[in-house]
């Protein structure tokens, strides 16, 4: 494959997972944790482009986008600049866009609302599951929590159910989480629960040393590997800096740029 890979792609190492064998691979859960200073949206865009790009080894991969944060036109504009036409992908059914901006679970039946949402997702997955890799993107989980009137318990149940899709259909799940809105220390364990659930955690943070003109922040990619006891894949941590440019992002190791 001649596609130029970035440090982020290397760190995620989706490829070796996919080319290993033909038997249905268990999908992975990717958690993108960001904070106010450094938004993780660019990671999400990168991943969407990657899963939709025509030269991914399995050309029939489908992205199922559950959007709570932005309308379709927003993502369309950004991805178009990056060289990926979402509208066209939507036309030929490689992108299924669930506009959830207006989702509001009724007060008395939060669970019912989430069951319906999960039902829609699983239905879409079932229809498209034959021989296709499906990626489910949820942007973002904090707003899902808002839609459920702050019931983290139900959100976690929902995520658990989504997790069953990774084993049943081999879906990959990408979640965006704003970590800084959950204060740590008071025993509030929502981010931690998701970290346990995730196989790959991508964290965007501002530089520890403060702001710099040439570096917008640092990315930590924690690839837990497949810690499932019989498939060999080692856990790895990657740490690098990034700089967001007009329509691309530079990734580089600390100190390799002046």
């Amino acid at each position: 494959m001649n596609r130029p890979t970035t440090l982020l792609d290397d760190a995620l190492s989706f490829d070796d997972g996919e080319s290993n064998s033909r038997r249905p691979q268990n999908g992975r859960v990717v958690l993108v944790e960001d904070c106010v200073e450094t938004s993780g949206a660019f990671v999400l865009h990168h991943l969407i482009k990657r899963f939709l790009s025509p030269n991914v080894s399995s050309s029939d991969s489908i992205v199922l986008f559950v959007a709570f944060a932005q309308p379709f036109s927003h993502y369309d504009r950004i991805l178009r600049k990056m060289g990926c036409n979402l509208a066209a992908q939507r036309e030929n059914k490689r992108l299924l866009f669930f506009d959830m901006l207006m989702l509001e679970c009724p007060d008395d039946d939060v669970e019912g609302g989430l069951i319906a949402l999960f039902g829609n997702i699983q239905k879409a997955v079932e229809v498209n599951s034959s021989n296709k890799n499906i990626t489910i993107v949820i942007d973002d989980i904090s707003l899902l929590e808002v839609a459920t009137n702050g019931s983290t318990k139900d959100v976690l149940n929902f995520m658990r159910y989504c997790h069953t899709l990774t084993t049943q259909f081999g879906c990959t799940i990408i979640i965006v989480l704003h970590e800084d809105i959950y204060s740590s220390g008071d025993g509030f364990t929502f981010p931690l629960q998701l970290e346990y659930l995730a196989d790959i955690i991508i964290k965007t943070e501002p530089l520890i040393t403060g702001l710099a003109a040439d570096v917008h922040g640092q990315l930590t990619v924690l690839n837990k590997g497949t810690l499932d006891g019989f498939r060999s894949s080692k856990g790895k941590i990657h740490n690098f800096h990034y700089k967001i440019k007009e329509n691309s992002v530079d990734y580089f190791y600390p100190g390799s740029r002046s």
Partner: protein, 364 residues
């Protein structure tokens, strides 16, 4: 030591005592609890399947991964899946813990079956009702061992999920009921301790006769990335075994994850291994054999005091008249077979500490 724990679980409970129980604690900084759990599960399974243990079967309550995972795991560890129904039952609390899928299926929203049907697996569709869960575990156990005096083991992965769905007290009640049941031989569970208060971990530790803590190898702050990466390959395994008389035996081990297999090494042995691998790999021999080491120890170094009470006369150039003595001494030492360093000065012309530059005559 992990094997010691497996042996205790294998031996099971005494008549009139609670079942032996084990808590495995881990945290996000060293998330190897599931691997340790699988290790103990497979060890115990091999004891059970070869009828070496007190219990005749094992009931696995699975919250965190699908039953197909367990099948893969057992296959990878060389178990015969075809005969596993004789000793294994899986209670699947992962696929549909709250009955959502069933409701959706009834409505016709989704179609696919939950999991492939297997005689080993039964699905729990309401994990919030722990009374039902308890009776399901018992029913599965009795399916395996019958109603008589035979016993079975229970494994729960993980309690954290269970607590999330219910409450600490009801989970504690379930465990205590299981532990005191006459047909349960041993029981072990996994807990992600950082998801809960201290009191949750403490409550479960009181109920268990063994506690195993999986800890990262370094407890220092985790800003250093190379250290952090080590956390995902190695770790410490601290276990305490409570005796019936109240004595607690604490043990420590290190483990490393190699090729997705977990390996336990005792701490002392681990340090030794590190020391040996510090010597770089070269073509020539840098290490001494035992004989060489003992020979080296025998060499008498030219110190005036050899700690034998006598002072050794060493020719130091100050007394030219003692040369004979020196030769005599060297003769004496030839018989004794001990190594020594004999030093003769080339000439007596010159005092040893003269200020003259010894390299004066070199033409550089």
């Amino acid at each position: 030591m992990a094997d010691a724990i497996c042996r205790v679980l294998r031996d099971g409970a005494l008549e009139g005592e609670h079942a032996t129980s084990l808590t495995i604690n881990d945290s996000i900084h060293s998330p190897f609890g599931p691997i340790v759990f699988d290790y103990i599960f497979t060890q115990l399974s091999s004891f059970i399947s070869s009828a070496k243990s007190q219990s005749r079967g094992i009931v696995l309550v699975k919250f965190s991964s699908s039953p197909s995972f367990t099948v893969e795991l057992l296959k990878a560890r060389g178990f015969d899946i075809a005969t596993s129904h004789e000793w294994l039952r899986v209670l699947d609390c992962y696929s549909d813990p709250l009955g959502w899928k069933e409701r959706l299926k009834d409505r016709g929203a989704i179609k696919s079956p939950l999991t492939e049907a297997s005689p080993n697996v039964s699905i729990c569709k309401d994990v919030r009702n722990l009374n039902d869960l308890f009776s399901m575990v018992l029913a599965l156990g009795k399916e395996l061992v019958g109603d008589g005096k035979n016993r079975f083991s229970v494994a729960i992965d993980s309690l954290s999920e269970m607590i999330r769905h219910t409450s600490l007290s009801s989970v504690a009640c379930l465990l205590s009921n299981l532990r005191s049941h006459a047909q349960v031989s041993s029981i072990f569970w996994l807990l992600h301790s950082d998801l809960h208060d201290m009191k949750a971990a403490a409550a479960f530790e009181y109920m268990s006769s063994m506690v195993a803590n999986v800890k990262p190898p370094t407890t220092e702050n985790t800003d250093n990335f190379s250290l952090l990466e080590q956390n995902y390959k190695r770790g410490h395994f601290h276990a305490s075994l409570k005796r019936r008389n109240g004595r607690v035996r604490v043990m420590r081990e290190e483990f490393s994850i190699d090729n997705s297999l977990i390996k336990f090494t005792s701490v002392a042995a681990g340090e030794n291994a590190v020391a040996q691998t510090l010597v770089p790999k070269v073509q020539f021999n840098l290490q001494l054999s035992d004989k060489e080491k003992s020979d080296r120890a025998k060499v008498v170094l030219p110190f005036e005091h050899q700690e034998t009470g006598k002072s050794v006369q060493i020719y130091d150039g100050r007394k030219p008249g003692t040369h004979e003595l020196e030769v005599e001494k060297s003769k004496k030492h030839e018989d004794s077979g001990r190594g020594e360093i004999i030093y003769f000065r080339d000439s007596d012309d010159e005092m040893p500490d003269s200020d003259e530059d010894p390299d004066d005559d070199l033409d550089i």
